[in-house]
């Protein structure tokens, strides 16, 4: 299945903003960050379709995964 992945802030460096990754059925965000070589401590916020997601949530083919490093403001 193809999963749309969106990266933000410093995670874009050397990786790009948005990509489609080919994953096997049952794979999870954990597999995405491994493929993209993102250290787990750099994953501060993980959204699946705009809702709070977990590294071990099983993905389905229509999912959009957004990954943010630690960010804040106001």
């Amino acid at each position: 299945m193809q999963i749309k992945v969106r990266l933000f802030a410093t995670l874009r460096e050397g990786r790009g903003k948005e990509m489609f990754l080919e994953l096997e059925e049952g794979q999870m965000p954990q597999d995405i960050i491994e493929k993209l070589q993102i250290p787990v401590e750099d994953v501060a916020i993980l959204l699946i379709n705009g809702r709070d997601g977990q590294l071990n949530t099983k993905l389905i083919s229509t999912d959009v995964v957004s990954i943010f490093p630690p960010v804040g403001g106001g």
Binding site: F8, A44, L47, G50, R51, S66, P69, V71, G72, G73
Partner: protein, 596 residues
């Protein structure tokens, strides 16, 4: 006395006289400084019933005990007065370098009262105080005023001023210092304007006495390491400033668009923090002793200056349907020049755009200028017209509530207590909705930033749609924030620091032995005196609410689709946790406990 200079500078603009008064140390320690001490002194001196723009009002410029010390971010001050926008107590906070300079000159706070018969500015050089003619400055924008004043005052002086918006009594006028730092909200600039007070220039050569230099050195070292090692204050904010929030808030589907008609902006990426850093950022623009340096300095075409912040990008961007970052930077620039609050100005243009969309405002009212959502050039043009009160800009200059109310549809103003809401749709962030509704200065995110736990996961991640525990989180955030605002530090330290850290810093500076609990208690005391002032000023608890759109109309699409703000389910628990009656009024028992 440590941490405080022990002196209040009182200036009577009606008689042109100045007086130095002693600061009561016990009162100062009870209410800390800034927002707390300022509110206490203000409320004791001024009747809550006065008109905010009358000579009876007073305006206070108040530092905290940590202002001008070696503490990280210890450079903030507060403008405290009655708000002409909301009728509530107004406390508008600003950074830069002006606050520490006032402290170095030897004063904890200034009380300006009465009304000058012609434009004046105040020159403070240590113990020398003069009220000078400002006729040559009246009508001038902030950068020009600052330049002229720098030329006619001692070297290294710091300038606080209003722009044309404050002179023309816009209820969205800010007080500006160091060119682009703003005590932005609640119309405090109009109070200066109503007194014919154009500027306050300060030069100070003293230092702030500290109880234990050794303890301070140690705690500053520890806290600076915490700030540097924290992902938000050590990496995210330094690299991208607050603008980095555009994408994350939009991805969550809580980025209000077209005056909160929708909650996700399809072109958010074009106004993102990442794009700002890539295309427009010239340099960082840090405040006094700040290891974070979130401030930006940007350039587009022939315009350059401080900002824009996240809230500003949202107000002129998504909220107006605008996706051109260059225009957002220009609108921000003109707000700084005119002395206008960027949130209220952008949100008022957005409300006007909805009035136009729905047919209330007609083309013939607009002198050929567009009020269509998405028109980037128009947003810049309207900002200038609002600042000068020209054409239809005059109608918009008193904020979205008064504008929409004049057409009989105040519900189109996305405001609380007449102050425009900032850049987070509370329908998808339930705790933030409760905070907006109960904020003591109306629609505001910096009275309690629930975005931190509900979106950013700091200090822990909460389910943003859930109500569970939210009333308690709101109370703690509001109380801790009130303390930080009183101390002279920047709120952004709280991403990395907790109550214990603040206690250690204040103890080293003023010589107390407070704990984290004492810090929260001091914050709660401040929260309650603000509440009591507002009640006496006629702001009754029925105003602890949100615009009906946010309570009744579910978000139409995106990740937060189908949700409304469930305020009525949270409010009773919040009142109860505050120790207030079910009517929202502080009980005698709680007042006694807090000693207010």
């Amino acid at each position: 006395m440590f941490g405080y200079q022990g002196k209040i500078l009182r200036i009577d603009l009606s008689t042109g006289t100045t007086k130095i008064e002693a600061l009561d140390e016990a009162l100062a320690k009870k209410y800390i400084g800034g927002r707390g001490l300022g509110t206490k002194i203000y409320a004791d001196e001024v009747s809550p019933e006065i008109d905010a723009l009358s000579a009876e009002n007073k305006i206070l410029f108040v530092t905290g005990p940590l202002t001008g010390t070696k503490t990280p971010t210890g450079g903030r001050y507060m403008v405290v007065t009655k708000s002409p926008l909301t009728g509530t107590i107004a406390s508008s906070n600003s950074g830069g370098y002006w606050g520490p300079e006032l402290k170095f000159a030897g004063y904890d706070l200034i009380i300006a009262e009465g009304k000058a018969d012609k434009p004046v500015y105040i020159m403070i050089e240590d113990d020398k105080i003069e009220i000078r003619d400002a006729s040559h400055l009246w009508g001038k924008v902030v950068s020009e005023t600052t330049k002229i004043l720098e030329g006619e005052t001692p070297e290294k002086s710091r300038v606080l001023t209003i722009g044309p918006a404050g002179e023309k009594l816009s209820k969205m006028a800010s007080v500006m210092n160091d060119l682009s730092r703003a005590a932005g909200r609640s119309g405090v600039g109009a109070v200066m304007g109503s007194k014919n007070l154009k500027a306050i220039v300060v030069r100070g050569t003293g230092t702030v006495p500290v109880a234990s230099e050794e303890a301070l050195k140690q705690v500053v070292k520890e806290c600076t390491i915490k700030i540097k090692e924290n992902g938000v204050t050590g990496q995210g904010l330094p690299a991208y400033g607050t603008a980095v929030l555009v994408n994350i808030i939009n991805e969550n589907g809580v980025f209000p668009t077209n005056n909160f008609q929708t909650s996700q902006f399809s072109k958010a990426e074009e106004t993102s923090g990442e794009l700002l850093a890539e295309k427009y950022l010239v340099k960082k623009d840090p405040c006094y002793r700040c290891p974070i340096a979130c401030g930006r300095y940007c350039k587009v075409d022939d315009i350059e200056g401080g900002g824009p912040e996240y809230e500003t990008i949202w107000a002129f961007g998504g909220d107006c349907g605008v996706s051109d970052m260059g225009s957002v930077i220009k609108a921000n620039y003109w707000c700084n020049e005119m002395g206008l609050d960027t949130i209220s100005t952008g949100a008022t243009i957005a409300a006007a755009m909805e009035l136009y969309q729905k047919g209330y405002i007609k083309d013939e009212d607009l002198n050929g200028l567009s009020l269509e959502f998405g028109n980037a050039d128009a947003v810049v043009a309207w900002t200038k017209l609002i600042g000068m009160r020209e054409g239809f800009g005059d109608r918009m200059a008193d904020g979205s509530y008064r504008l929409t109310d004049s057409y009989g549809v105040p519900e189109l103003s996305m405001s609380v207590k007449k102050q425009e809401l900032p850049a987070y749709d509370p329908r998808g962030i339930q705790g933030q909705g409760l905070q907006y509704a109960t904020s003591n200065r109306g629609g505001c995110h910096v009275r309690g930033y629930l975005i931190s736990p509900e979106i950013l996961g700091l200090p822990e991640k909460l389910d943003r749609f859930s109500l569970e525990g939210k009333a308690g989180w709101v109370k703690i955030f509001q109380d801790l924030t009130a303390f930080i605002d009183a101390s002279g530090l920047c709120l952004f330290t709280s991403f990395a620091m907790g109550g214990g850290d603040y206690a250690s810093m204040i103890n080293a500076v003023i010589g107390t032995d407070w704990t984290a609990e004492d810090i929260l208690m001091a914050g709660e005391r401040i929260w309650n005196i603000e509440r009591l002032y507002n009640l006496e000023a006629g702001i009754d608890p029925s105003q602890d609410t949100l615009p009906s759109r946010l309570l009744k109309d579910p978000i139409v699409a995106g990740p937060s689709e189908g949700n409304v703000a469930r305020l009525s389910e949270l409010l009773p628990e919040y009142y109860s946790l505050r120790g207030w009656g079910s009517d929202g009024i502080p009980t005698q028992e709680r007042k006694t406990l807090l000693g207010v």
